[in-house]
């Protein structure tokens, strides 16, 4: 068969699989029990989640004072983690929506997992604005609901309120997009199973039967959703960057933040996707679906975004010097030479220097290289947010208020907990839902392509 494979493009799925074989492989994790490594993974995640739960309860019970914040530094790890997680999410939408619009066929093997990652990341992100409030039990006050408090509405000028709308919209649309993509595969699982699972998947699949009348509208809808999600993904991190860009604090008040943040988000997001995929393809035995070529492709995007981020760093420094604004200039000198200089140096190392290794195909195609690189990039991107938020705050206008910030075990535990939540969700997803977009992979499989290109005589 492989003799008849199109010379134009090597297939994105190895081993010239038949459609039936693809169904088998994708549904396998659901049907046969998972590998022991899965249990270890889930156990670790649940432990982290529990730790997070304990410290968050303690914090809400006692007060934000259990964090290391003070009169000068009002935000630090909380909002750093928030921006970090929102950023992670962006890669998912990018892969599912933007690569779809660009007809990047290779997305099909990873888009399902990437979208799932988006949803879980946004969940983690949403946690922080909630618990960082002094009175989280009043969090619902940020929604403009008709109330008995006389005319009393929210402040539509506040970037935090824009966040509320952006993040919730982003979550709803991503979740919808993901669920819509799942219907055909849920139907596949339904048709293969009996008893309770058949019932559950029957309900979830909304009676999908692969009717072509559905398919044709379905594709239109999917295209429309992709078209909507694309500007959405840009808007979300743009608005997150407004939290800082619209303020008056030197180091925050920066007009290049929107593109800067969006690229950073995609950068960190792809790093996280690679981290997950490299684990998943081993643990779930999907090497033939998530191939080295996939990783290669993702590495290229990572490299590109890394260089955009590097450009942003340079531009910031240039603008600080060029603006002639002494406060602005000090803010950036303070990042480089101030008490937190180690953070800045490590950030540049992880985000600018390390990704340069991806110029080499040998590195891009070797998970043993890519995995540590992707981890380092995530470290670097977390530090970027810390540098922007905390280091700008701790020394702003009046020297009398300058002070230092040190995290407490509560903040560290909460951060750990967010990872626990993220990976718990992800492990459960791998186990109980088709992790690879079955129908999409079928459409691009060797089998399908052959039987498209050569009509039988």
């Amino acid at each position: 068969m492989s003799a008849r494979v199109s010379p134009l493009r090597e297939p994105w799925v190895d081993g010239g699989k038949t459609l039936a074989r693809i169904t088998e492989d994708v549904c396998a994790p659901l049907e046969r029990g998972p590998a022991p490594s899965w249990y270890w993974g889930l156990g670790a995640s649940l432990t982290a989640l529990l730790i997070g739960k304990i410290v968050v309860v303690h914090q809400i019970w006692t007060g934000i004072g259990t964090w290391g914040l003070n009169k000068t530094v009002g935000w630090s790890w909380d909002i750093t983690n928030f921006v970090f997680w929102v950023g992670i999410g962006h890669a998912g939408t990018l892969i599912s929506a933007i690569l779809f619009l660009f007809r990047q066929k290779w997305r099909t093997s990873i888009n399902r997992a990437a979208e799932a990652m988006t949803i879980f990341a946004v969940m983690c992100a949403g946690l922080f604005p909630l618990i960082h409030m002094g009175r989280p039990w009043l969090a619902y006050w940020v929604f403009p609901y008709p109330n008995e408090l006389g005319p009393l509405w929210v402040n539509f000028r506040s970037p935090l309120l824009w966040d509320v709308f952006a993040i919730s919209t982003y979550f709803i649309i991503s979740a919808t997009f993901w669920y819509v993509g799942l219907w055909p595969d849920l139907a596949t699982v339904r048709d293969r199973s009996q008893g309770l699972r058949k019932k559950i998947f029957g309900v979830l699949s909304l009676g999908w039967d692969g009717s072509h009348r559905s398919w044709s509208r379905y594709e239109t809808m999917y295209l429309l959703l992709a078209g909507l999600a694309t500007p959405l993904v840009f808007s979300v991190h743009t608005i997150v960057s407004f939290d800082f860009a619209t303020s008056v604090i030197p180091g925050w008040h920066t007009t290049i933040f929107p593109p800067y943040f969006v690229c950073g988000a995609i950068f960190s997001g792809f790093a996280m996707v690679m981290t997950l995929m490299i684990i998943a393809r081993k643990v779930m035995r999907f090497e033939e679906y998530i191939t080295l070529r996939h990783i290669d492709a993702m590495c290229k995007i990572t490299l590109l975004t890394s260089m955009i981020v590097a450009l942003a760093y340079g531009t910031e420094l240039f603008m600080a010097w060029y603006s002639g604004n002494p406060y602005e200039q000090f803010a950036f000198l303070n990042r480089i030479y101030g008490p937190y200089r180690a953070g800045y140096a490590l950030m540049v190392f992880c985000n600018v220097l390390v990704p340069q290794a991806l110029w080499f195909k040998a590195v891009r195609r070797n998970p043993l290289w890519v995995f540590p690189i992707s981890i380092l990039i995530n470290v670097g991107m977390w530090l970027e947010r810390f540098v922007i938020i905390t280091v700008s705050l701790h020394r702003d206008y009046l020297p009398s208020s300058w002070t230092m910030y040190y995290p407490t075990y509560v903040e560290i535990g909460t951060f750990l907990g967010s990872f626990g939540l993220f990976f718990t969700c992800f492990f459960l997803f791998c186990r109980f839902l088709p992790m690879i977009a079955c129908s999409e992979v079928k459409a691009i499989s060797t089998f399908a392509q052959e039987n498209r290109e050569t009509p039988r005589g």
């Binding site: 039936a20 039967d209 044709s216 959703l225 498209r452």
Partner: protein, 174 residues
């Protein structure tokens, strides 16, 4: 058409399905529907499906979201509760944009999906048509309303088999 009976041809690959569909329509048979594991391009033409409404609906929902967002914010800022916030004028227009945009996307997205479900009458607990023929796995199924006369039935049967149907059989929608 719940308990209508169908005559279905089951194919193993998409271009046989396409060929059969074309032929059957030329032969004047009325195609009920086709069931495939993935969207087969060219079927729209083969089945001569009408263009879908979804893009227009999507636009309408988006417009509704935009309008709601802008009007509500203006009403709050200018009429219901004008407050001096940071010295900015009551209807500071640039501040309206982010939320207006988000609501546009939200309404358009949800609206499109809901209209799709309504148009296709998909809902939790719906019985899939022609289930059990492996359309969700690896088979490509072409379904016809069973022709009245024996002779017509035979012609269609033959036509399908010639076009490479693995099998032709009677099926019911449940």
């Amino acid at each position: 058409m719940a308990d209508r009976d169908f005559l279905v041809g089951v194919f193993v690959c998409e271009q046989d399905l396409l060929a059969a569909t074309h032929a059957a329509r030329e032969a004047g048979f009325k195609i009920h529907d086709a069931y495939t594991p993935y969207p087969v391009h060219g079927m729209d033409e083969a089945m001569a499906l009408p263009k879908t409404l979804l893009p227009r609906l999507c636009f309408l929902f988006g417009a509704a979201g935009l309008l709601l967002a802008v009007l509500f914010q203006c009403w709050v800022g200018l009429i219901d509760w004008p407050m001096n916030i940071g010295g900015k004028s009551f209807g500071a227009r640039p501040a309206l944009i982010p939320i207006a945009f988000e609501l546009t996307v939200l309404f358009a997205g949800l609206g499109t999906v809901i209209s799709f479900l309504v148009l296709r009458r998909l809902f939790p607990g719906r019985e899939p048509e022609c289930a059990g023929l492996g359309a969700s796995d690896a088979s490509f199924v072409l379904a016809f309303a069973t022709p009245e006369t024996e002779q017509l039935r035979g012609t269609l049967n033959r036509l399908l088999l010639e076009r490479g149907a693995k099998s032709v059989r009677e099926a019911s929608s449940r």
